[in-house]
C-alpha cells in the first residue's frame, strides 16, 4: 500500500514543486542516445525515400527497433518491449504481407507525388522553421519547472511494468475501457467493409464433401478405344 501512496503523490505532482529535476544525459548514455536517435531519423527518412516498398517496410522495422532502444535508455523497458512485440511483431509483418500480396504500382504513385514535392517542401520548410523559432527559445529553458522531465519511479522499489499496471487499471480505467471500445469499432468496421454475403457462382471449399469422397465416386474407369479418344 505504501507504494501506491507514493505513486499517488507522483500523480499529484505539479510543476514548481521540488521533485522535478532536469535529466541531463552525458557520457556513454549520450553516445547511445545520439546513435539510436540518428539511426531512427535516418531510417524513417528511408521509409519514404526507398524505391522498393519491401525495403520501406524493412526500414520501418529498423525505425521501430531504434525507438524501442530509446525507450530502454529512459528506463521504460515495458514500453520498449511492447513496441517490439506489437509494432514489429504484428503491424510491420502485416504491412509486409500487404505490400507483397497486393500488386500496387508504387513507382507510378511516386511519380504523381513528385509533382507536388516542391510545394510540399516549401510548406514543410516554413513549418519547420517556425517550429524551430518557437521551440528553440522556450524548450531549452531548463530554469522553467514545466520543462523538466517528470521523475520516473525508482526501478529498485517498483518495477515499471508493475507501476504502469497499477494506474492503468485503476486511475486510468476509464481511458482503458474507451480504448477497448475503439478497438471494437475497428473490428466491426473491418468486417463491415470487407465481408461480403455469399455471392452466387463463387466456388468454396466444402470439407465434408471432400472427406466423403471414395475411390468409387472419384475415379471413373473408362475403356478407351485406340485412336478414338474419349
Amino acid at each position: 500500500m505504501a507504494v501506491r501512496l507514493r505513486h499517488r503523490a507522483l500523480a499529484r505532482w505539479r510543476p514548481g514543486r521540488e521533485i522535478g529535476e532536469a535529466i541531463m544525459i552525458s557520457g556513454l548514455g549520450a553516445a547511445f542516445f545520439y546513435l539510436f536517435a540518428f539511426v531512427a531519423v535516418g531510417s524513417a527518412f528511408m521509409v519514404i525515400a526507398a524505391r522498393n516498398p519491401v525495403h520501406s517496410v524493412l526500414y520501418l522495422i529498423l525505425t521501430f527497433f531504434n525507438a524501442a532502444a530509446l525507450f530502454l535508455l529512459t528506463g521504460a523497458e515495458f514500453l520498449a518491449m511492447i513496441l517490439l512485440v506489437v509494432y514489429v511483431g504484428a503491424v510491420a509483418v502485416l504491412f509486409l504481407f500487404v505490400v507483397m500480396m497486393l500488386d500496387v504500382d508504387f513507382a507510378s504513385m511516386k511519380r504523381g507525388a513528385l509533382e507536388y514535392a516542391p510545394i510540399g517542401a516549401v510548406v514543410g520548410i516554413i513549418l519547420a522553421a517556425e517550429l524551430l523559432i518557437v521551440l528553440a527559445g522556450a524548450a531549452f529553458d531548463v530554469e522553467k519547472p514545466a520543462q523538466t522531465a517528470l521523475p520516473a519511479p525508482n526501478p529498485v522499489v517498483r518495477h515499471n511494468t508493475a507501476a504502469l499496471g497499477d494506474i492503468l487499471y485503476t486511475d486510468y480505467i476509464f481511458f482503458f475501457q474507451i480504448a477497448g471500445i475503439v478497438l471494437l469499432v475497428a473490428m466491426i468496421g473491418a468486417i463491415v467493409l470487407t465481408l461480403r454475403p455469399q455471392r452466387a457462382g463463387v466456388k468454396r471449399q466444402n470439407m465434408s464433401q471432400q472427406v466423403a469422397r471414395t475411390p468409387e465416386t472419384a475415379i471413373d474407369v473408362v475403356d478407351v478405344e485406340t485412336g478414338k479418344g474419349i
Binding site: 505539479r14 510543476p15 517550429l131 518557437v134 521551440l135 527559445g137 522556450a138 524548450a139 522553467k144 519547472p145 514545466a146 520543462q147 517528470l150 485503476t170 486511475d171 480505467i173 476509464f174 481511458f175 475501457q177 474507451i178 480504448a179 471500445i181 475503439v182 471494437l184 469499432v185 475497428a186 466491426i188 468496421g189 468486417i191 463491415v192 467493409l193 454475403p197
Partner: protein, 481 residues
C-alpha cells in the same frame, strides 16, 4: 483506488454505459435475427437505447465530475448531449425507409451509429485532453466506416477514404498540439491547464499547441480552412448517413470546441479569439459564396453547414456568457433545421429513378406536392435567417453577443454574408413555386412526415416557445463560468 472513485464515476456515466453495453448486445441481436429483418430490428432497438440514455441523463442522472476530473457531467454537457442524442435518434429513425428501398440493410449500421454517438457523448463530457482525444477517435473511426458503408458505390467508398485520410491528418495535428500543450503546461486536465496559464506569463509553446488543437477542432466542425472534405463526404455518403453527419457530430464537436477554449484556455482568451474570429469570417463567406453554384442539394447543404458553423463561432468569439448561450441556441436551432431539410431530401423519391438529389428536380413542386414544398420553404427561409423564423433568432443571439463584446466588424461581415447566402436558399423557393413542374415525388413515409412536421412547427413557433429554451440554455451555459 477507493470504491467511491469507481462507483461515483459509473453512476455519472450511466448514459454512456447504456450505449456501450447496448451496442454489444445489439451486435449479438443482429447475428441471431433473420437477415431480412436484422436491420429494422436493430435500428428499432438502437433508437430505444439512445432514448433510454437521453431519458436517464435528463431525469435520473446526477451532475458532477468523475474519474479524477477526466469526465464531467454539467449543465452544458447535458444540454449539448441532449442535442447530440436527438440528432442521432432522428437520423437513425429516418434511415429505415431508405434502407428498405435502396437495399442498404446492414445491421451493423445502427450499431456503428450507437458507438459513434457514444464517442460524441465522451467528447462533450471531456474534461481533459485525454478524454477529448479518445472520444474523438471513437466517434471518427465509426464515422469513417459509416461513410463508406455502401461499398458497391464508388462515391461512397471515395467519401469514406477521403474522410479517413483527412481525418487521420487532422487527428495527427491535434495530437501534436496536445503534446505541446502537455509539454509546456505539464497537464492534460482542463482545470489544471487553466490554472497553469493563469498568473505567470503564457509561453509561446502553449499557443503553438493551441493553434494545432484548434486546427483539429475546426476540421471536426468543418470550418474554413479545414472544410475541404465536407462537400465530397456529404455528396458521396448515402443520404441517411449525410443526415447523421450534418446533425449529431456537429453538436458534439462544437461543444468540445466551446469547452476547450472556454475552460482550459479561458486565461488566454485574447489569443484564441483572433483565430476564432478568422475562422468564423472565412467560414461565413465561403459558405455564402461557394454554395451559389451548387446543383446537388446534398452538396449545397454541405456548404450551408460550413456557413452555419461560421455563424455559431461568432458567438464563441465573443467568449462571454451571452456568447456561449448564443452558440448553444444556434446549434439547437441548426439541428432542427438541418434534420427537417434532410427529412425532405430523403423524401425526394421518384417511382422510376429512386432518390434524386438535384435542385432542378424540385422545380414546380408546389403544384405536385404542396405540403412538402411548404415545409421546405419554411426551412429555407429559416436557414436564410428571415424573421420571425427560428433561424433568424439563432443569428440574432450570436450577433448580439458579438456586438456586446465589441466585435463590430465580425457582426457586420456576418450580416453581409447572410444576405449573400439568402440568395441560394431563396432560389430553391423560387424553383419550387414559380417554375414548370418536372413531376412529383412518391408519397412520403410516415417517419419523414413526422420529422418534417415537427421541425416545421418548431421553426415557425420558435417565437412563442423560444423564451424557455433560451432560459434553459443560459442556465446550462452558466456552468462553464
Amino acid at each position: 483506488m477507493s470504491a467511491d472513485f469507481l462507483s461515483q464515476g459509473l453512476a455519472l456515466s450511466i448514459p454512456e454505459l447504456i450505449l456501450a453495453a447496448g451496442a454489444m448486445v445489439l451486435l449479438m441481436v443482429g447475428v441471431f435475427v433473420p437477415a431480412d429483418r436484422a436491420n429494422a430490428t436493430v435500428t428499432g432497438l438502437a433508437v430505444a437505447l439512445l432514448i433510454a440514455a437521453l431519458g436517464w441523463m435528463l431525469f435520473i442522472g446526477g451532475r458532477g465530475e468523475a474519474f479524477a476530473g477526466a469526465f464531467v457531467q454539467d449543465g452544458f454537457a447535458v444540454f449539448m448531449k441532449a442535442l447530440t442524442l436527438i440528432g442521432s435518434v432522428v437520423a437513425l429513425a429516418m434511415s429505415v425507409g431508405f434502407a428498405r428501398a435502396e437495399k442498404f440493410d446492414r445491421f451493423e449500421f445502427p450499431v456503428l451509429i450507437v458507438l459513434a454517438t457514444l464517442g460524441m457523448l465522451l467528447m462533450v463530457s471531456a474534461n481533459s485532453l485525454l478524454t477529448l482525444y479518445m472520444g474523438l477517435e471513437l466517434q471518427s473511426l465509426a464515422l469513417y466506416v459509416v461513410a463508406a458503408i455502401n461499398r458497391d458505390s464508388v462515391r461512397s467508398t471515395e467519401a469514406g477514404l477521403k474522410y479517413f485520410v483527412l481525418g487521420a491528418l487532422s487527428s495527427g495535428m491535434m495530437l501534436y498540439g496536445i503534446s505541446l500543450i502537455y509539454g509546456f503546461t505539464g497537464h492534460v486536465g482542463f482545470a489544471e491547464i487553466a490554472a497553469a496559464l493563469t498568473g505567470g506569463e503564457r509561453s509561446i509553446g502553449v499557443l503553438f499547441g493551441l493553434v494545432f488543437l484548434i486546427a483539429g477542432l475546426a476540421f471536426k466542425i468543418s470550418a474554413v480552412p479545414f472544410h475541404m472534405w465536407t462537400p465530397d463526404v456529404y455528396e458521396g455518403a448515402p443520404t441517411p448517413v449525410t443526415a447523421f453527419f450534418a446533425a449529431a457530430p456537429k453538436m458534439a464537436a462544437m461543444a468540445m470546441f466551446v469547452r476547450v477554449v472556454m475552460d482550459a484556455f479561458a486565461p488566454v482568451t485574447a489569443d484564441w479569439r483572433q483565430i476564432v474570429v478568422f475562422i468564423a469570417i472565412a467560414s461565413m463567406l465561403l459558405g455564402a459564396f461557394a454554395a451559389i453554384g451548387q446543383r446537388n442539394i446534398k452538396r449545397l447543404m454541405a456548404y450551408s453547414s460550413i456557413g452555419h458553423m461560421g455563424y455559431a463561432l461568432v458567438g464563441l468569439a465573443a467568449g462571454t456568457l451571452v456568447g456561449v448561450k448564443g452558440v448553444m441556441l444556434y446549434m439547437a436551432i441548426y439541428l432542427v433545421m438541418t434534420l427537417g431539410t434532410f427529412a425532405f431530401i430523403l423524401a425526394m423519391r421518384r417511382k422510376d429513378e429512386g432518390n434524386v438529389e438535384n435542385i432542378d428536380d424540385l422545380a414546380g413542386l408546389s403544384a405536385t406536392n404542396p405540403v412538402m414544398a411548404t415545409v421546405l420553404t419554411i426551412m429555407m427561409f429559416s436557414l436564410a435567417g428571415i424573421p420571425p423564423l427560428a433561424g433568424f433568432w439563432a443569428k440574432w443571439y450570436v450577433f448580439l453577443a458579438a456586438i456586446e463584446a465589441g466585435l463590430y466588424p465580425l457582426a457586420i461581415i456576418g450580416v453581409l454574408a447572410s444576405v449573400v447566402g439568402a440568395y441560394y436558399y431563396l432560389r430553391i423557393i423560387k424553383l419550387m413555386w414559380f417554375d414548370e413542374s418536372v413531376g412529383g415525388f412518391l408519397p412520403v413515409a410516415a417517419e419523414l412526415r413526422l420529422v418534417m412536421g415537427v421541425s416545421g412547427l418548431f421553426v415557425l413557433g420558435y417565437v412563442l416557445i423560444g423564451g424557455p429554451i433560451a432560459a434553459t440554455a443560459e442556465a446550462a451555459a452558466r456552468t462553464l463560468f
